[in-house]
């Protein structure tokens, strides 16, 4: 159990590096985890080459979901939208460094789900540019 709540997770939960909101932004998306009422919003700013320059999250969640959001956003700064779409469940689990059962997996993956939903929205407008 102490393994589960690795120092990294507790630390990022208590003092996140990427918490906030961005207005204006290029991507903003939010979603809920209906099982627990958690809510996460992610705001992203891009440069003219669709490279992520800033990314922050806001909302409510458990240590796993918020640490996951913080680590995810750290990992996408400097990436292009296309690169960002490649992020997988395994990447998230690697960052968190823990194994999760099916219920907590939903917590860990909520930020990625929100990010992807936002990005695919943008992806569409980009491709129709």
């Amino acid at each position: 159990m102490e393994d589960f709540y690795r120092e990294l997770i507790i630390e990022r939960y208590k003092s996140p590096h990427f918490r906030g909101e961005l207005e204006p932004n290029d991507i903003s998306f939010e979603d809920d985890n209906p099982a627990c009422g958690d809510h996460i919003r992610i705001d992203v700013r891009l440069d003219e080459n669709h490279v992520v320059t800033e990314a922050v999250f806001s909302g409510e969640g458990c240590a796993i979901s918020l640490a996951s959001a913080d680590l995810l956003l750290e990992s996408i700064i400097g990436k292009t939208i296309e690169e960002l779409k490649e992020t997988t469940k395994e990447d998230i689990l690697d960052m968190l460094g823990i194994e999760l059962g099916p219920v907590r997996l939903k917590c860990a993956l909520l930020p990625l789900k929100v990010l992807k939903a936002g990005v695919y929205g943008v992806g569409e407008t980009i491709s129709s540019d």
Binding site: M1, E2, F4, Y5, I10, K14, A35, C36, G37, D38, H39, E60, G61, C62, A63, I64, S65, R104, C107
Partner: protein, 414 residues
Amino acid sequence: MTGNSNTRFDVQQVRGDFPVLAREIRPGIPLTYLDSAATSQKPETVIQAMSTYYQENNANIHRGIHKLAEEATLAYETAREKIARFINAPAADQLIFTRNTTESINLVAYSWGRKYLSAGDRILLTEMEHHSNLIPWQLIAGELDLVLDFIPVTSEGNLDLDVYHDLLKKNPKLVALTHMSNVLGTINPLKEIIRNAKSVGAITLVDGAQSVPHFPVDIANLEVDFYAFSAHKMCGPTGIGALYGRKDLLENMPPFLGGGEMIKRVELRSFKANDIPHKFEAGTPAIAEAVGFGAAVDYLLEIGMDRIEEHEKLLTNYTLEKLLDVPDLTVLGPPAEEKGGVVAFYIKDIHAHDVAQILDGDGIAVRAGHHCAQPLHTKFNLPATTRASMYLYNTIEDIDRFIAGLQKVRDIFK
């Protein structure tokens, strides 16, 4: 109705009746089950009754002439009688088998609601309802253009009865509320609430999912019109629940679902509905589950509902007292005297999921989330809470392990 009370309540003996309580949740870690408000564990007698039914009596009911069909029908109808008697319903045919509390409430919404409600009519609910006594009314209100009103919950976790009296002046057609909150533990003053509702001519429906399992419920005394509950929260199987209804109401209501069993006579373009309760039991019902439900009632009666209530009170008092010593922890709902065996709480800056996860590491099963009462959590400005809920098989040692687990939670997040 409340069972024998001359022998002592022996919790260790009770635990011996529940096979799952003997298991280790992980090697060397016993199970501390504090999630009975979600679903209770099942005693050996219930599991056995269902097995025996399948091994010896299984047949479809009501239609067959053969011996097995007769035995199965008898088993099913005997269960109905036991359950009706358990809640002191006037007659067994006023007890309809459904899948669960949720389906019981939906049955009333769709059958009674569609026939008797029309645009502009008001339904009075409360802010502490489980989604199962909220969404059916939202759906039917959308369909029929009804107005929903809500009795507010005070900051102490009780219904605001002054506002209730004001809302009654708007002449609601229905007052529907829970007997006991599955989050706050509040036991509502039903007798008074029902009497007031009747005085303005409203029909009353009570969600008994958290009450029937935990203390004696007397339908005749409450004079309630509809009362819904689930077997799985009272030592019975999943897949079966019950709806009690006032006889004249049930007799005048149209069927809920159509099919076999609910008819008396069928022609190509019309049918004549069966008598109650069969009118509301379309298709092959959950027969083995009904048998298990009956066995659950037998079991609870053997222990005695008074003694179960008393035991849970003791555990709840003890829990609330111990929780006072956990820093930064706030319990929702009224004080111990007004509360059933449900303790929902939050710890400052620690999410309910993390609390539950760390407790699980020590084999302690609690629930985290909004417990299907999201509007109530919104009201208290909480995304989620952790809930420990007790039943007849819980012990003081269970509570001690739970409290020690919370200490560990705080250590990890310090």
